[in-house]
């Protein structure tokens, strides 16, 4: 990531590959494999919004790679944030990403006539596991608020005049990326504010953690125009909105994907490419896909379950490092990530540790230190003296309070909506605003297609036997084998099933309906040059096969003339 791309925020562009199904270190020391039905997406910007009583709460993930001295972050605000800036936690994002992640799965149905089976079941579901995708000295009027929290120094500036604000930022060591001045003007007016953030001395890039802002506003908005100076092509923007109802993009279009383009047999590995192509079919490329809309129940208690983190009063009295760390593990602290940067200051890796231990130490510091304590008790006693009160304070500031606050979001609101789009800099001409529509239905994150083998004609194992592939929307395709789905060229087929406007009430207003194009595009698929009626025939054969009645002759009959 270049210096320029590091700085702007809501506005953070990402070059880092981010696994949406993060590995989880269990107490046993093993890692759970990623969910194979989860596609990988690189999202440059992730924000969780909650909206209540005219107040917007925004949890913003800051993705940054670069030199700590060049870290800077600017965010226009409609009002001075109440309670200043607060820290957020990565765990909110890892959990909500995982919980609401779109999943694409093929259930394979094997009739009696098939000699191969999956897992000993005659007909059932098979979760396809193949190829998981990869004040300073500012004037009183200019500086409205200045403080520090966690790893950050921050300031809220009056944004009435651009030059004065920029001068102050430069003089006080806040980095401003090239090009910002060209796009910042819409955010400069009397009564406007900017939040600027930088790393405090002594902190490095590993200390970067999400931030939380709460401010008065009717709607949640992402100042994406400002991001355009620092964005990569097709930058992912992922947003969750919590509230009473399903959320909508108020001033962006809304796209329903044509799932025909999904690489179903590889767990939707091309999902991000499909979203890019589909949203680019909308005017100005400005359209969101709703990936999930429904209850917050799957998130409830994940972050703030009863008893998590134990008691501040208890932990601050533990003076032995191993006991302190064990207490943390037993009470649900997640080692690694932000916790590593906190622990490094108190419990360094034992001198002389081999490289593997050094790399892995902060994932299991309790175990490694326990070993060290037993091997070298005197050195341990000397080297691992620490102030438990100070460390407990830091843990509560950086980890415990932010995590419990994030968890409380899901106790407060009944619904969450996950939306995703990708934008290139030239498409970042309009700040997306999010609202609610109580009339819209929920959206499931799990998408299930079926593949019913036609074993009466010919069969050659699970991957080379023909069958009928049925999409969730009911369209059916004859496939010579499962690989044929991925190999099929569909470049002329729209990636959007529908492009629509979502209003704050009522049903969607459809702008583009590609349904007719999708139907005709199924003709000639994979050696089965089916007409519309023959496609229906496929469905009949599929049904018969399912019932065990699909005799060879019938199967040949619908395939024969077209081969």
């Amino acid at each position: 990531m270049t210096r320029t791309t590091t700085t702007l925020a809501a506005l953070c562009s990402a070059t880092a590959l981010v696994m949406l199904a993060p590995n989880r270190a269990d107490a046993c020391g093993c890692f759970a494999p990623p969910d194979p039905s989860v596609p990988v997406v690189q999202a440059g910007e992730r924000i969780v919004f909650a909206h209540e009583d005219g107040m917007v709460t925004a949890h913003i993930q800051i993705q940054y790679q670069g030199d700590a001295s060049e870290f800077g972050w600017l965010l226009p605000l409609p009002a001075v944030p109440e309670e200043g800036l607060k820290l957020g936690v990565e765990e909110l994002f890892s959990q909500i990403i995982n919980t609401t992640q779109p999943k694409y799965r093929v259930d394979r149905i094997t009739p009696d006539s098939c000699e191969f089976q999956f897992g000993g079941r005659l007909a059932g579901s098979f979760n396809d596991s193949a190829q998981s995708p990869p004040n300073a000295e500012g004037g009183e009027k200019l500086v409205v608020l200045q403080d520090s929290i966690g790893p950050y120094d921050y300031v809220v500036l009056d944004a009435s005049t651009k030059d004065e604000m920029f001068d102050w930022l430069v003089e006080n060591g806040y980095f401003i990326p090239t090009g910002t001045e060209d796009v910042v003007q819409p955010y400069i007016y009397s009564g406007a504010y900017f939040l600027a953030l930088k790393l405090r001395k002594g902190n490095d890039v590993g200390d970067v953690q999400p931030v939380v802002l709460r401010y008065k506003a009717d709607y949640a908005m992402i100042p994406i125009v400002l991001t355009s100076v620092a964005a990569n092509p097709d930058m992912g923007i992922q947003v969750w909105v919590l509230g009473e109802h399903r959320a909508i993009p108020r001033n962006y279009r809304h796209t329903i994907l044509n799932e025909e383009h999904i690489d179903w047999f590889n767990a939707g590995a091309n999902y991000n490419d499909v979203v890019i192509a589909a949203t680019n079919e909308a005017t100005d490329g400005q359209s969101f896909v709703t990936e999930y809309a429904g209850s917050v129940e799957p998130m409830r208690g994940l972050l703030n379950y009863d008893g998590r983190f134990g008691s501040y009063e208890e932990i601050k009295r533990i003076t032995d490092a191993v006991e302190f760390l064990r207490y943390m593990r037993q009470r649900g602290f997640t080692f690694g990530g932000a916790l590593t940067t906190v622990l490094q200051a108190y419990f360094p890796v034992p001198a002389g540790s081999d490289p593997f231990v050094a790399d892995d130490f902060y994932n299991f510091p309790d175990a490694y230190l326990d070993q060290y304590k037993r091997d070298r008790p005197e050195a341990y006693a000397e080297e691992y003296q620490f102030d438990p009160v100070e460390l407990a304070d830091k843990l509560w500031e950086r980890i415990v309070v932010p995590t419990l606050d994030a968890g409380a979001l899901f106790d407060k609101w009944p619904k969450m909506t996950r939306m995703y789009t990708t934008l290139s800099p030239d498409e970042m001409t309009r700040d997306p605003v999010f609202s609610f529509n109580p009339d819209l239905p929920d959206v499931e994150s799990e998408h299930v297609a079926t593949f019913t083998y036609l074993c009466d004609a010919t069969q050659d194992g699970a991957n080379n036997t023909p069958g009928i592939f049925e999409l969730p929307d009911g369209r059916r395709f004859y496939l010579e084998n499962t690989g044929a789905w991925t190999a099929k060229n569909r470049s002329s087929v729209p990636y959007s099933r529908r492009i629509e406007f979502l209003r704050e009430e009522g049903p969607p207003t459809i702008e583009v309906d590609n349904s007719a194009d999708l139907s005709s595009s199924t003709a000639g698929d994979n050696g089965c040059a089916c007409s519309a009626s023959e496609t229906a025939g496929n469905g009949l054969a599929s049904l018969l096969a399912l019932l065990g009645l699909g005799g060879f002759a019938l199967t040949r009959r619908f395939r024969g003339p077209n081969r």
Partner: protein
């Protein structure tokens, strides 16, 4: 906007019986929607339906108009001791009824400095309009703002008033940007 004295008469009549009073009908004067100061500070400005209101920049690059609410003292009983009504706002285009803005929030009231026995919202209320809903022009279109003031979420009989207005983009530096994001 309606005349407040009428409201006093209606309320006095309504409260004379033993049954709970019916809510004042829209336009009764128990609630009056007016304009707010352009800088968002306190101050109720009485206006007539059809008034032009200048879109003010705000909300991270968006635009809004300021309104203010005026309540009769008698109407405050409904809101309990804290007198913080729950406000629901709906702004629609008058031609097709398209919803262009909605919000729900509580607000604090204070005695009106220029009208005895009346209470105003503590600060002007920004009604967010732009960026407008996709495909819907908001600026230079006649809108109707309906405001409901309720005791709480379950209050079946909120006080209601409306104001029709035409939002206009400001002249000067912000005009071009305003026109870009307020015309759908």
């Amino acid at each position: 906007m309606r005349h407040a004295p009428i409201a006093f008469v209606l309320l006095a009549l309504a409260c004379s019986g033993t049954e709970p009073p019916d809510p004042p009908p829209p336009g009764s004067g128990a609630l009056i929607v007016g304009a707010g100061e352009e800088d968002g500070s306190a101050g109720f400005i009485a206006v007539d339906d059809g008034v032009d209101l200048v879109l003010q920049p705000g909300a991270q690059g968006g635009f809004h108009v300021y309104v203010n609410l005026r309540f009769t003292e008698a109407s405050l009983d409904k809101f309990g001791a804290e007198e913080k009504p729950l406000i629901r706002r709906f702004a629609r285009r008058t031609d097709a009824g398209t919803l262009v803005s909605r919000s729900t929030h509580t607000t604090t009231l204070m005695p009106a400095p220029d009208a005895e026995g009346m209470y105003d919202t503590e600060n002007s209320i920004p009604v967010f309009l732009c960026p407008s809903p996709i495909g819907v022009q908001v600026a230079e279109e006649r809108l109707i703002l309906e405001v409901e003031a309720a005791a709480d979420e379950d209050d079946p009989e909120p006080i209601i008033d409306t104001l029709e207005f035409v939002p206009r983009c400001p002249e000067g530096d912000q005009e071009e940007f305003c026109r870009r994001i307020c015309f759908g």
